[in-house]
Amino acid sequence: MTVGPQGRRPLSFWILTAVFVLFVLFLYGPMSAIYILSFQGPTGGLTFPMRGVSLHWFGALFGQQRTGDFSGSFARSIILALIVMALTLVISLAAGLAFRQRFRGATLIFYAAIASLVMPGLFVGLGIALVCQVLGITPRWWLTGLGAHLTWTLPFGLLIMFAVFNRFDRSYEEAARDLGASDRQVLTAVILPILAPGLIAVALFGFTLSYDEVARSTLTVGARNTMPLEIYAMTNNVTSPALFALGTVTTAISFLAIAVALLTIARITRRRGTGPVRAADPAGAPS
């Protein structure tokens, strides 16, 4: 950090600090208000001040009442996110492996896959809904909803796999083959374990992108809402802090997914000794 001759910081430091503080306030301020208000007392309302502190509104979420179908939409969202995660992982890995070979039309297929990232999500959903209507398919969250989510998660998964394979040294594979591994063993004993951190990242993206998807979902999930859509509906007709409690719960789940993923990656890198240096006992007795 630059410090002036008399120990005074330059003006630029204070300007940049102010910008950063504003950014953090803007990022976390409104969110924090929601988290705090979700612990509103039973007699409290949608705004400050707090009238006591309670878990009342969290309880209200799970109770049968006018807050809408919270439990159902939550279950649907989690199941859908898990299916999307698994499919994204498998398909992205397979595509990443395939794109390592030069094949005819590789570039075209790549751009076609990536293009769905820039198309407006609402119209992707609209297109799917229209086609389904023509084909006489009733939109359902586990059918058309799943497809819509995959148009969003697969390009991300593919891009991550590209980055992952870019850093993957193919001599690992050749070494494995040289040491007698079959094609299948090369995949299971070498490629998958080495790529594990990248695969976890793909899984995390698949899960979280699906979990809070709105634009592509609105017209494709059919009669039963996923949770983001349910929340959106609630903002129009729920007038209690239960809405805030819902925000807190869903955010906690997102953070939980991220924490699990990051901790797993950290564990792997620490085990491989590629993370922060730790002293290893050179005379470690063979176990």
Binding site: D169, S171, Y172, E174, A175, A176, R177, D178, L179, G180, A181, S182, Q185, A189, V190, P193, I194, A196, I268, R271, R272, G273, T274, A280, P282, A283, G284, P286, S287
Partner: protein, 383 residues
């Protein structure tokens, strides 16, 4: 008995490898005897690594045959060939401990855990890495990683160990240490080693058979002493170093000697042996740097046969000898390694004119290069 004695033979017959339009290996034939140490020597891009990878089964030849122990290995996967390749980057699996890396081959073959760990520990003992068995590869130094890679390759009990630039990632001290260790291992195990390198001292220190390559073909395949002292072509002489390569055009020959016109009016007399060059034909020959007599050139000195006059460009003290660089009419650097005592008896300095001369029987006649242009002076890589 002959069967077992030849099980580590490696034979290449007219092997060619193309990568698209590029010809990486051009009709190479070579026989590496069982239990010998062979070095494939050449600059990067000369095809040496491609040959190694074809023997290992990681590349298939475009044409030609490869035999290991007399058996054609076309279409066999690496593990069926009885070869083991040690990669330049070592390619140790980062997610496995040292012991599990070494035991990888046994795990692939379904050997029970306890037995494969016992075997792995035995191999680690061979390369003196027992104390590091539980470490992860990222926690090892380059030299330690190499020992593990060696143990991992040797646990397959190969007939032929293939080493791709095994010493290039190590510092000078470790390189010399590992060099002698490789030789010790090869002798102890009694298997064939094929070692790819671009470093001339490494090749001649280790190899029973040095294969000097250039642009996808073999310039010379012979013992270390042979390629060093009796290089076949100007390319080999320059790449191995230790020689001055000189060209002259035949003026006259009497069946035993030829008289050559050299640059700047110099005259060289060279023994012909079997060769019968026509008048006017260019002939290359080599003279070892340490077999040249150096004298201060007197004013108006008459240039005698078998000598070159030049300007001293550099004088480097090397301990047991002094390396003097002359700029002569040949257009190439002319190097003289004069014994220390002889040099200091009549020293020369930068800027002096000096006369380098040699005996005709110390001249070694060269054949033209097989690849590329005959006398390109740009190939003095190992000078």
């Amino acid at each position: 008995m002959t069967g077992t004695e030849r099980r580590g033979d490696v034979a290449l017959h007219e092997v060619t490898k193309r990568f698209g339009p590029t010809l990486a290996v051009d009709r190479v034939s070579l026989t590496i005897p069982h239990a010998s140490y062979c070095c494939l020597l050449g600059p990067s891009g000369c095809g040496k690594t491609t040959i190694l990878r074809m023997i290992a089964g990681h590349e298939e030849p475009s044409s030609g045959r490869i035999l290991i122990g007399g058996q054609d290995v076309a279409g066999l996967v690496p593990a069926q060939r009885g070869t083991a390749l040690m990669f330049q980057s070592y390619a140790l699996f980062p997610h496995l401990s040292v012991r599990d890396n070494v035991a990888f081959n046994l795990r692939m073959r379904g050997v029970p855990r306890e037995q494969r760990h016992r075997e792995a520990d035995r191999m680690l003992e061979l390369v003196r890495m027992t104390a590091f068995a539980d470490r992860m590869p990222a926690q090892l130094s380059g030299g330690q990683q190499q020992r593990v890679a060696l143990a991992r390759a040797l646990i397959t009990n190969p007939r032929v160990l293939l080493l791709d630039e095994p010493l290039s990632a190590l510092d000078e001290f470790l390189r010399l240490q590992m060099r002698s260790e490789l030789k010790r291992l090869q002798t102890d195990l009694g298997i064939t080693f094929v070692h790819v390198t671009h470093t001339q001292p490494e090749a001649i220190a280790l190899a029973d058979l040095v294969v000097v390559m250039n642009q996808g073909i073999i310039e010379q395949a012979a013992s270390a002493r042979e390629v060093y002292a009796r290089p076949r072509s100007p390319y080999v002489a320059r790449f191995l170093g230790g020689q001055n390569v000189i060209m002259g055009k035949v003026r006259d020959q009497d069946g035993r000697h030829a008289l050559l016109d050299g640059p700047g009016g110099a005259l060289f007399r060279v023994p012909l042996h079997e060769r019968r060059p026509r008048p006017g034909e260019p002939v290359w020959f080599a003279v070892r740097r340490d077999l040249i007599h150096l004298a201060r050139a007197g004013a108006g000195a008459v240039t005698a046969e078998n000598s070159l006059e030049g300007l001293v460009e550099a004088v480097e003290y090397q301990g047991s000898f002094v390396k003097v660089t002359l700029a002569t009419a040949t257009g190439e650097e002319f190097l003289v390694n004069e014994p220390e005592a002889a040099f200091f008896a009549s020293p020369v300095a930068r800027g002096d004119r000096a006369l380098a001369s040699w005996q005709p029987d110390q001249v070694h006649l060269l054949e033209p290069d097989r690849a590329g242009a005959g006398g390109s002076p740009s190939l003095t890589a190992a000078a």
